[in-house]
Assembly symmetry: C2
Homo-oligomer: 236 residues x 2
């Protein structure tokens, strides 16, 4: 499989350019790529270009990878439906595993959802590690679009600021048949569930209350399963 480099500054459509930092270091020292090898450079916003490594150099700023585009860059459309996941945060490593899974399933964005029964609020340091997780995942799973990590959002605000159809994952809901619309805001609550007030507000806002499986699920399982079911039929 062609090695993928993530470079959000990619604006070139042809010619030579340089990728530095961690991406260059990883490609050269871990993957041991050398001059002549072909890599794919992605900007995480649909831009993709195949390049050949011209040369590698190590300067004062670390490793640099001089690349030559093998043709014009392509633009890949977003996967549809566009699913914005707003979920409570599971504890510890399970949060990073959830972000990785959501990225693989094709979610467009994720924000931590503040609910009445929420118990975990990830700190700033953790949130920035999550951005790194989405970059790694983009390369692993071949997404052309980076899953966005948004700012934390409270339940009330998440309802108001929702885009497309609102889907609230709850065991009391109807079975979801997965064909919901072109853009979906998916709300997944904490392990204690949504409060009565939250369920009422969601219904008033016209949300579909949906169940995504026969049993109770942990946050990360519910989020990934619901996203996979809603994305069903999605194609790149």
């Amino acid at each position: 499989m062609t090695h993928v480099l993530y470079d959000p500054t990619l604006t070139q459509t042809s010619g030579r350019f340089v990728v530095g930092g961690e991406e260059a270091h990883h490609a050269l020292r871990v993957k041991r790529l050398t001059a002549g090898d072909v890599v794919r450079v992605q900007d995480g916003a649909g831009g993709v270009v195949e390049c050949r490594i011209v040369r590698a150099h190590k300067g004062r700023d670390g490793w640099g990878l001089e690349l030559e585009a093998m043709g014009p860059s392509r633009r890949v459309e977003r996967v549809r439906p566009i699913v914005h996941v707003r979920s409570a945060a599971p504890k510890g490593d399970r949060l990073e595993a959830m972000i990785d899974a959501l990225s693989q399933c094709g979610a467009a964005s994720w924000s931590v959802l503040g609910c009445a029964h929420s118990v975990v609020e990830p700190r700033a340091g953790k949130m920035s590690r999550l951005r790194r997780t989405t970059e790694e995942s983009l390369k692993q799973c071949g997404r052309a679009w980076l899953m966005e990590i948004g700012e934390p959002i409270d339940f009330d605000r998440a309802l108001c600021a929702s885009r497309g159809t609102i889907v609230l994952a709850d065991a009391t809901g109807e079975t979801c048949n997965g064909a919901i619309g072109d853009e979906v805001t998916l709300l997944v609550g904490p392990e204690g569930g949504f409060s009565e007030r939250e369920l009422g507000m969601a219904q008033d806002a016209g949300a579909c209350v949906c169940s995504f499986g026969p049993h109770a699920m942990r946050i990360e399982t519910a989020a990934a399963a619901a996203c996979a079911i809603i994305m069903r039929g999605a194609r790149v």
Copy 2:
């Protein structure tokens, strides 16, 4: 939520009986349940009975919990479709996380699938820890049926011994619409994918080759997403 005790020897339909071992210890020392509290006892094979704690005692064999059934035991039917997952094993902790997720999603059984590109073969010690994971998961997610951990099975044998519709998860497949049948054997390959020979054999055996998302997925994400999509519509 009522505390759940798992006791595979449950045969009583009424009267008093004793639960010992880890289950009793956990209920008494971690959950701090006492005489008069109500618990639910499940045998992992559909048998469920609500009981009141009569008394707790500590003898030479450890903690014992004397219970009195509050009524006849109920029999809960298996969730349908019945999904048998046969997958390659992901590395390290990801295997246990996958087993937990599959149990929550409602899979009936799981076995490690030996494929041409498999790289991980879990040892016996790990396999027995997985059984413990399914017991914990049963209690957490409210399943009446324990997800079975089967013996490792090679790809060829998995095809011959499959039950119901064979579904092979592969990026080259058609989008799966989730309505496949009442019993499904789901095959999920290693990160290197199925070999050409395996794909050919599966097609010869009449397998549905299905894609469960727009991007490449890790083993554990693919298995849980595919299971959730196939189980869609399942009800207890």
